[in-house]
Symmetry: C2
Subunit: 245 residues, 2 copies
């Protein structure tokens, strides 16, 4: 049976992970095994992506998948170089090597090592997905509502299938080059770069600030009494490290 | 036991819906039963929202929940009036009542009735959630990547818990009024309006254009051989109806 025939008769696999559980345990995966992502997995991930909502159901999202073709390799090299430049500046600007960053096992030093290894190995990422938005009018801040829900579906579906990934903006450093290389029309917004692969590490509970700091009721700044994290929730502070941390 | 104590000791409920299944069957729900959303459900939905990723894990999202307080009622009335104006213009501009729109059971006429009923009943929606983005720099088109994944988590978590909703931009017609009424700082972007409630109708498979039209590989416009919808997938065209349809 050809791949095409097989996919035509094969539904999505049985779920091994529940919906709420999956949402709560899908975290950024930046280390991948050197394994290609099989076409049936790509089909399922991209099917999930395109189930996302969009304004007036216009479906302006196009997902450009880059695996191991010649243009894919060139695109990976371009974005890798951009990623290394961007992370390099950020590492300096956010003082990742100062303060607790000099202590080998500090969270700050661990984050810096994880990011450095991510960008150093970027060219070997099994699959990149470039989420693209076909604009039908001038850019508005609301247009992201028609592309980033689809990105979230990609990450969740990857989790469901034993894969993992992360959304970054490393493409923005080489936007014109990518448009040219991949034949993306000028009016199309390349909205990010999603890397996907089999995790070397594992998924697990996501960490955020306490719920009451992120959720308000009735007015700005007013934490509702019900904004209480479920038992066992672990917290983290927000954003890049503070210069003196 | 107080609500607070109860929530502190209660985890997320067991999942009744799988992750891939939930993604594939979360569709826009616009008709709600007249029932409040209990605080434990709000907690679970908002917890899911805040598990979403954001750039550098800055967690710039704040979810402003509007249920039945005095400001919530005022905000609902404001957005309802905006929704009625916006939908009224759209109904005319997109000729929803012309062509097949004049035929009672056409998809176009059904969409128009559903939207009309949604905006007419907007003030009675059980809960609104305003997803807000705390900007730390000038607006960029990529900033949506730090707020709309959280919106998608809201809709998926609602589905997981027997609720449903939809993301709209009806707040943009009354943006200044909402900032004032709710005390939202000027630099904070109110990124949309999510309505949430118990569905009157039911969830079910989402319809989109065929996968091969939305997914490309290696270059723009190049449908991969594996971009084949699972068996039983139903399709729909994109966007508002064409004037002559």
């Amino acid at each position: 049976m050809s791949l095409e025939e097989e996919l035509r008769t094969t539904g999505l696999p049985e779920d091994a992970v529940g919906l709420l559980e999956g949402i709560a345990t899908t975290r950024a995966i930046r280390r991948y095994r050197d394994e290609p992502v099989p076409p049936e997995i790509l089909r399922d991930i991209l099917f999930a992506a395109t189930r996302a909502p969009s304004g007036s159901n216009r479906q302006p999202f196009r997902m450009l998948v880059l695996a191991d073709g010649p243009k894919a390799l060139e695109a990976k090299a371009l974005i890798a170089a951009s990623a290394q430049r961007i992370w390099g500046s950020k590492r300096r600007a956010d003082s990742y090597d100062a303060g607790s960053g000099a202590v080998e096992d500090s969270p700050k030093a661990r984050t810096a090592r994880a990011m450095q290894s991510y960008v150093d190995n970027f060219e070997r990422v099994p699959v990149l997905i470039l989420p693209c938005l076909v604009r039908y009018r001038q850019a508005t801040p609301f247009e992201g509502g028609s592309i980033y829900p689809a990105c979230q579906n990609v990450l969740l579906a990857a989790r469901a299938l034993g894969y993992g990934g992360v959304l970054t903006g490393f493409n923005f450093g080489v936007d014109a080059e990518l448009h040219r290389l991949l034949g993306v029309p000028e009016e199309v917004f390349i909205a990010g770069t999603i890397t996907i692969g089999r995790p070397r590490g594992s998924h697990g509970p996501v960490r955020r600030r306490p719920l009451g700091e992120l959720v308000y009721e009735e007015a700005w700044g007013n934490s509702p009494t019900w904004a209480i994290d479920p038992p066992g929730t672990r917290h983290t502070s927000a954003g890049p490290p503070r210069p003196d941390s």
